[in-house]
Symmetry: C2
Subunit: 478 residues, 2 copies
């Protein structure tokens, strides 16, 4: 008989949330550290999760007319420097290639931290007429930002993402694109990742380097910290002017197009872990789970069990469900713990007694609920059970979000609420950066966004008492 | 009325094949040069072609149990140097990152030229038992090799590819994997890209740096030069030993796994251009064409034409065919030339007279053949016509290959045949590198492969007259 494998323990999230997170990343085999400091390896299970996210997002992008391209990974320093704000924002984090083969380069090349500059440079050479607009481009790639402290998925020197870049004939069209792509992210978070979001605009202090406006979807994790999910930027014609991107307009005159960019990254895997995970490990929304259903035979040595399990697996897969069965000689306990760690949404147990009764037992990962399912109804019941898990995860995450938004009318109150409950603290705000800075220094929070759904909490800024312009959300963010 | 666009001319392939190739790359909007010397941009049409190739190959890899992962793009110099042959092979072409942010790095980092070292380093930390073998990994990414002279798709400093890396319990299993993956490439070239291949083994001189054996699929272009399509390498346990990758075997002792790697790249786009293109532009095999059918309305201003074309387009798309219609106000002549340039396999023309007769005219891109198709039979006839184009392209490419393989019994004869006809020159060979070098210097050809299908042309080596060991193919290669 095989040596019994030990079920690996992870730290409880209540004991040490950060350690719990890292434990899941490693024990669920999502990610592994590399020999290069601050870099990570996406292991097969982590990459499968990313591929499922990519497929859904890519289809949504294509359904709205976007096309994929590939830009060079290296950007000449002079090109990167043409737009001052962008380069100032990213310069401290750039990795530089200075040697090609055995020879020093005449000009050093930046490993892309983001690719606005490359897209603009390309457009400056291929765009001619308003008839070619809009150009709705996207690329899937990795970028490097030389962060000092790193954590898997949340902050690593290399990460994988998509970066959309578009140019439009008019400012209105570009603004619409920015909103449309933000909504694509919001839908993806809510309907696919089962994570409710707050949609809003970033303050000038927090917006993307070089953008006129940055829109964001903000999520809440189980430790009540905030995580920025995806961002969508409106640039006006600032980069077009800096990079001399022009087209002949309907009036036969040279014009500058209006530009957007928008991105979402492997950070989303971190969001899924911290929005849904528990002390037994990862909990995956069925829509992105690499394995949606795992079939675990009980007493598989008894005659007929393995055969019946094989037959059922075939039926489940034929129904379009991503399913696996575990026929290994590990113990039932080990198997259950293992698939819980990996967050598989549904576990089906099938033993000799079940077969006699023509049933199996379905166990939901999100709440442990057991359902006896007639084998005759398997294909009909499993999708409904998976939908129930998806909905259950969303409902729980929504409850967590709704129960952790607190109004405050002063920095002291905001700080006290944050320290007691965590979450988003909403206050009125005058719009001045000085007050944002004050909230950071005295309240320990950054602004998360100015939500699109505004409320009139009071007339005055919680930080300075002057007339308020917006309601704003504050929080401690990943 | 819109300004008539000029139909762009390309150089005839008979006049200047290299210029013809570059013209197609640019005018079919596959690729554009970037500001970074030697780097290219994959434009939407070129990337769509690559995505279709990726999807088919990725599905084939997954069907044989492979999983995708993502390894870091940067490799520490010390790690790269652990296996001497590999680093010697690639060192002259490595791009080095030496600065992170504003600080010089303690150790410089190589932009991956290939990732054997990273996979080995990872496996050295995660592999424990024979039960975890085989590990069948693949990654889709870009790599950099600092080439001196570059050409789109064929040789550029950055290119996109997949690199498969696997480890196995036994040498036999690893050898089998190497062959299986070579066959996957061969099938892909022949059945999807419509390019017949010669399968064989590379000589020691031409094999991958560090490999024990390299297998290859070699194709022939329309100028009768050779192009290496995809390669599959067997490493034995050489890298395992260099990187200390071990596992506990069935005998409870530490063992070294046996390793393979295999790769295919955006070079395949270059192969498609040069295997099928003509003087009107690109010619795409339907299986990878981003647009399989283009519907061009004739006299679209006449009542009912646009409506009927819209209806047909909907029907064609619903039948699972990648189709577009061109309702722009460009002339019919311009449209035809444009879709010929882009290599769209089938063009459907639909005018008022056709509608009256309930037909449309299908024009094959590969041979210009026109077929009148009843609109009632559209969904049934189009797939057959697309299959005919696919088969037509393969047949023509096979004829080109078969008519350009010539036996020779001396270097002089080989050189004369190459100079008169091009193609593969087959000779017997003693197996010595000295003779290979001689053929290169005196005959101007490199060895392409030792084909699996051997013929006994004579008893002696064409270069030195000593007893022959193999029949070998020579050629001038891209």
């Amino acid at each position: 008989m095989a040596k019994e494998k030990k079920v690996e323990q992870i730290t409880d999230m209540e004991t040490d949330f950060a350690q719990w997170y890292t434990d899941i990343c490693r024990k669920a085999e999502l990610v592994e550290y590399a020999s290069v400091k601050g870099f990570t390896i996406l292991r097969p299970y982590g990459y499968a999760l990313w591929e499922n996210m990519q497929q859904t997002l890519d289809a949504a992008f294509k359904a709205t007319g976007h096309v994929n391209v590939a830009m060079p990974v290296l950007i000449p320093e002079s090109l990167l420097k043409k737009e001052g704000e962008l380069v100032n924002g990213f310069a401290p984090e750039v990795a530089w290639v200075t040697m090609g083969g055995s020879e020093p380069l005449e000009e050093r090349l930046a490993f892309r931290p983001t690719s606005e500059t490359m897209f603009c440079d390309h457009w400056s050479r291929v765009l001619h007429s308003y008839r070619e607009l809009p150009m709705l481009y996207n690329q899937w790639c990795s970028v490097i930002r030389w962060e000092k402290t790193t954590r898997p998925f949340l902050r690593s020197r290399e990460f994988w993402w998509q970066e959309g870049h578009t140019i439009h004939e008019t400012a209105e069209e570009a603004e619409q694109e920015t909103q449309q792509q933000l909504n694509t992210y919001a839908d993806f978070f809510e309907k696919v990742l089962a994570i409710p979001v707050v949609r809003g605009r970033k303050t000038d202090k927090e917006k993307f380097a070089g953008a006129e406006a940055t829109y964001t979807v903000e999520c809440m994790m189980k430790d009540h910290k905030a995580l920025q999910g995806g961002t969508s930027h409106y640039f006006g014609d600032k980069f077009s002017r800096a990079y001399d991107v022009t087209f002949t307009g309907r009036d036969n005159k040279l014009q500058y197009p209006f530009q957007t960019s928008w991105g979402a990254s492997t950070r989303m895997i971190g969001a899924v872990i911290m929005a849904h995970g528990d002390n037994n490990g990862l909990v995956l929304p069925p829509k992105i789970a690499p394995i949606q259903v795992v079939l675990v035979p009980v007493a598989a040595h008894k005659p007929g069990v393995t055969e019946k399990a094989q037959e059922l697996l075939g039926r489940i897969q034929a129904a379009g469900i991503r399913a696996q069965a575990d026929f290994s000689d590990n113990s039932l306990g080990w198997k259950c713990a293992q698939y819980e760690m990996k967050g598989v949404p549904l576990r089906l147990e099938l033993g000799p007694r079940d077969i006699e009764n023509n049933v199996c037992v379905a166990v939901r990962r999100d709440n442990g609920e057991k359902t006896t399912v007639s084998l005759d109804e398997l294909e009909a019941r499993l999708p409904a059970l998976l939908d129930a898990v998806q909905q259950g995860l969303y409902d729980a995450a929504l409850k967590n979000l709704q129960e952790h938004i607190f109004p405050a009318s002063s920095i002291e109150e905001a700080k006290a609420l944050q320290s007691e409950h965590g979450g988003f603290i909403k206050t009125m705000w005058c719009g001045e950066e000085a007050c944002e800075q004050k909230m950071k220094e005295e309240g320990g929070m950054t602004s998360r966004c100015i939500p699109f759904r505004q409320e009139q909490l009071s007339e005055t800024c919680a930080c300075c008492g002057k007339p308020a312009k917006h309601m704003i959300y504050w929080g401690i963010a990943y």
